[in-house]
Subunit: 155 residues, 2 copies
């Protein structure tokens, strides 16, 4: 049994493998992408995305992400029902990984999945990776700061 401070069973001491002990999953990075790039912040927002995650799976993943400190759960003072989920600094630092995945997909997955769009945008992103990454992170922080004027932390 795992202890309460560490809900993850790490396979070994390799940094890369350890990251995959958390992120190596069908949903975790999709959830973080939705928060970072698509401004998803409520339980309902997640359900309405085209990936169509199941409610029980979503609840479990959000709990895990909160437990390990990649996201926070907060609530509007004017609304006792709707919860906000937001990325922490640790979660935000996954931006480079997500951008690299987008570029890899753009360059190598179009024949396997011809529905992948945004050709021109992804060309731009591939050519300005670092700049785009910083813009993503700063953009997220700005939105969050503006929002946090009205938001209180739950946990």
């Amino acid at each position: 049994m795992q202890n309460s401070t560490n809900p993850i069973d790490f396979r070994c001491s390799c940094a890369i493998t350890s990251s995959l002990d958390i992120l190596g999953d069908r949903w975790i990075l999709v959830i973080i992408k939705q928060m970072l790039i698509e401004s998803v912040e409520t339980f309902k927002d997640f359900l309405e995305r085209p990936e169509a995650i199941a409610t029980n799976v979503l609840a479990k993943r959000l709990k895990l992400l909160e437990d390990i400190g990649l996201i926070t759960k907060s609530r509007r003072p004017d609304n006792n029902k709707t919860n906000y989920y937001h990325l922490t600094k640790e979660g935000l630092e996954l931006a480079p990984v997500i951008v690299d995945l987008a570029i890899w997909s753009h360059r190598n997955l179009r024949s396997l999945n011809p529905t992948i769009g945004d050709y021109e945008e992804l060309e731009y992103i591939a050519k300005n990776k670092d700049t785009y990454c910083k813009k993503l992170i700063e953009g997220y922080k700005d939105r969050l700061e503006r929002k946090s004027l009205y938001t209180i932390r739950m946990t």
Copy 2:
């Protein structure tokens, strides 16, 4: 049922989600890391790594990776038993993703997994990401080219 040319069920048209339809798994990127960084190339090599993948899981993943063209399976002319698994160009292009995962882990996972080592090396990698990435890719290509003098493709 899926057709034979495409063994992956893509969830939607998002490039990032599509990459995770393939890579979003406990083992796929670990296997690619072992090949790229740890010079793993035979079935036995994989089994001897500290991650300790099960034989049935390994066989299934190698088959999938070959089917989608991220690795190749080859054989030494002087040995009818031992197979070589090697990264294709498409597989090699995952190097940036893997390096970013290492950096993220280095910066954010040490408290959750104190056994993660290589502090100094990962500091260097974080500061010279692009250079390190290119060195990884070129190093792999060089090793492979030298080896391919004696190797023939199986499929």
